[in-house]
């Protein structure tokens, strides 16, 4: 049981890392390739063929699939806060690579998000709904 729990934990962390990275780089690529304005409904489709946008879509597909995999064993109420670290990383990507201005208020918000993630991700078991493996908390 103990080794099963350890296995579940390392699998959870590896999968969460893929979810977060795919999300952050997917959103970043999408914004990087986005034109200033989408004037017609058709432009919502044509924009998908820009290289950066296409890369972003690919990464978001990876995000969707890895998130589904993670949710096959982990609680949604665990996955949500743990993967929300991506909000911070996205803000940093906007600041560093897209020259977006981040106010002090926004940084404060980002710190609170990190604190909330630490609270949930730090101690609790990833699964409570009673699958065959994992610790019941």
């Amino acid at each position: 049981m103990t080794s099963d729990t350890a296995r579940l934990h390392s699998k959870t962390w590896a999968c969460s890392a893929v979810v977060v990275l795919a999300n952050v780089f997917g959103d970043f690529s999408l914004k990087r390739g986005m034109p200033g304005e989408l004037s017609s409904p058709l432009s919502y489709i044509t924009v998908l063929f820009r290289p950066w946008v296409a890369l972003g879509v690919t990464l978001l597909v990876v995000w969707l699939l890895s998130r589904m995999t993670l949710l096959s064993w982990a609680d949604l109420s665990y996955v949500l806060p743990v993967t929300s670290i991506s909000y911070v990383l996205v803000a940093l990507a906007g600041r560093w690579f897209l020259d977006e201005r981040i106010t002090r208020l926004r940084w404060a918000g980002i710190l609170l998000i990190v604190a909330g993630v630490a609270l949930v991700g730090g101690g609790s078991a990833p699964q409570t709904f009673g699958g065959q493996s994992g610790e019941q908390s």
């Binding site: 924009v47 949604l76 806060p81 929300s84």
Partner: protein, 120 residues
């Protein structure tokens, strides 16, 4: 227009992610990560209606997000849509019947406060 798109994103994402959790729980834990096993899992999932419905909802959310991103900052668009966080934690408790302990509630609450600050 901005808040309409945000509303669509929040509603579609919350619905999609909860359906995704329902569908994946029905499928069970993925333990085998060899490509052939993952392929088999994928083909089983095409007959899992909550998963299919969740992909449709995520598609709606994606196009609304593309629209929003075309005229707002990335560091605004992403955090502001995190309102889904609060909605989904409540849905996890009452729809998915997860045991959400007080630490998770506090964590979720703190994250929401952070999200509000970011979007101001």
């Amino acid at each position: 227009m901005k808040w309409l798109l945000i509303g669509i994103i929040v509603a579609a994402t919350s619905l999609g992610e909860v359906l995704q959790a329902i569908g994946m729980r029905r499928h069970g834990e993925i333990r085998d990560f060899r490509p052939s096993a993952l392929g088999r899992a994928a083909s089983v999932l095409t007959r899992n209606w909550p998963v299919i419905a969740s992909v449709v909802a995520m598609g709606v959310s994606f196009f609304a997000f593309v629209g929003l991103l075309s005229f707002t900052d990335l560091s605004f668009a992403v955090p502001v849509t995190a309102v889904t966080f609060a909605i989904e934690t409540v849905l996890a408790k009452y729809v998915l019947k997860e045991r959400v302990n007080w630490l998770r509630w506090v964590g979720a609450g703190v994250v929401v406060c952070g999200v509000v600050l970011v979007s101001l």
